[in-house]
């Protein structure tokens, strides 16, 4: 017979060993989670949430209803523009790409990406203008023009439900790193960086407004405050101005880099354009 005291001691030892093991396991586990989210600021335990998540019920309903969502008109115009012949050669997008519902599915989810011909980072807007210049000899659309917003909305709509999935390695790496630097750089008279609000304080209230994670999968959005559709870059510029920082040009390298970083940051979020935002 083993005395009771020995059993108790054994039990204690077992308990201590188990506890140590659990702690080690937890540490290893949290380490892997951490390294996956290495660049996601301090919100390593926070799930990715679309801006939709932070909307009021009313606005969510507005976005969900394809008959009421004001962003849908833009898609309709985009569908027309896809077919419209333009430029000296008399081509339309459809002349080469045919039915966007087939040729363009999932494409928008991969932008911004490297334009292999030029070795430069391009987003959907810049790619459209490249195509117009090179293959249609048509004039470029202005960045925030109704046409550009419409065509990007139409193309993004062909990727609805596809997860954001951008490449950040190879030639894209240098742009990605710059974008990340931008995101963590304090700027403006208010001396704030993007991550301080959109990583650390998402979900909290700035006066009446809820701070979102600043995800980009709902763009082009329809912004009620502006009563118009808006691109990702317009939103960047607005956010910068709100910090009393000098914004960059829409379509600038700086915003392209930031867009790549944000698209990577939102990896896996499903394209939900046109989002409705305050």
């Amino acid at each position: 017979m083993i005395p009771f005291r020995v059993i108790r001691e054994l039990n204690l030892k077992c308990f201590i060993i188990l506890l140590t093991l659990t702690v080690i396991l937890l540490l290893v586990f949290s380490k892997t989670v951490y390294s996956e989210n290495l660049y996601f600021g301090t919100t390593i335990d926070q799930e990715k949430e679309s801006g939709y998540h932070y909307l009021s019920k009313d606005l969510q309903a507005l976005q969900d209803d394809d008959f009421l969502n004001p962003g849908i008109f833009s898609i309709d115009l985009g569908r027309e523009l896809w077919q419209k012949k333009d430029g000296e050669k008399g081509f339309s997008c459809a002349s080469c790409h045919q039915d966007a519902a087939e040729s363009m599915t999932g494409i928008a989810a991969g932008y911004p990406k490297i334009d292999t011909n030029k070795g430069k980072l391009v987003n959907l807007e810049l790619m459209i203008n490249n195509m117009r210049a090179e293959h249609m000899t048509a004039k470029p659309y202005l960045y925030e023009s109704e046409e550009m917003l419409a065509l990007t909305a139409y193309l993004t709509d062909q990727s609805r439900g596809y997860p954001l999935q951008v490449k950040t390695n190879g030639p894209a790496k240098v742009f990605f790193e710059k974008g990340r630097e931008f995101y963590f750089q304090r700027r403006g008279q208010l001396d704030l960086s993007c991550n301080q609000c959109h990583d650390d304080l998402a979900g909290q209230k700035l006066r009446g407004d809820t701070i979102s994670q600043g995800q980009v999968e709902g763009f082009p959005i329809y912004r009620l405050m502006w009563r118009s559709s808006a691109s990702r870059h317009r939103m960047f510029a607005w956010c910068n101005s709100a910090l009393r920082a000098e914004p960059f040009q829409l379509g600038s390298e700086e915003y392209l880099n930031l867009e790549l970083y944000l698209a990577w940051r939102g990896k896996g979020l499903l394209i939900g354009a046109p989002g409705v935002r305050r």
């Binding site: 700027r187 008279q189 208010l190 700035l206 006066r207 009446g208 101005s241 009393r244 920082a245």
Partner: protein, 146 residues
């Protein structure tokens, strides 16, 4: 003569502070930044001004007539009982002196900022007098008063 001298001291002190925001000694903070003492009533008006960067964006204040006080920073109700005037002044001038990671803007800083928009280059969020007015207002907020 003495009046002029006083003005000169105030101006140079303000100049010194605005230019060396990182070296805030307790000694400097004992003095008002401006020629005139802070006025709590004016301070309250500044804090309520939605066109400027207002405390209400992030803090709760005993101003029930204004809706939607922010909740990011600590509540400022009764802050005058908890913090000294010097401490409040320091917090407004350069909050990063105590917490380098602070998200609170520095209300009296014009240097060492990145890409300030043209409209605001060389300007601090508050003037010296506005800092003093807000300090006076915040210091007037005592516990069990409201």
């Amino acid at each position: 003569m003495i009046k002029h001298l006083r003005g000169l001291i105030f101006t140079s002190l303000a100049f010194l502070l605005i230019n060396s925001s990182t070296s805030l000694s307790e000694e400097n903070l004992k003095f008002s930044l401006s020629k005139f003492n802070g006025n709590p009533l004016r301070g309250k008006a500044i804090v309520k001004d939605i066109n400027n960067v207002t405390c209400l964006i992030c803090h709760i204040l005993p101003i029930p007539e204004e809706p939607n006080h922010g909740k990011i920073g600590p509540s400022l109700i009764g802050v005058g009982s908890r913090l000294t005037k010097e401490r409040l002044r320091r917090q407004l001038i350069y909050p990063k002196a105590l917490n380098p990671k602070s998200i609170m803007p520095s209300y009296f800083q014009i240097k060492e900022l990145y890409r300030v928009s043209v409209k605001y280059v060389g300007k601090s969020i508050y003037t010296a007098q506005q800092v003093e007015d807000v300090v006076a207002y915040l210091f007037s907020l005592k516990e069990n008063q409201d």
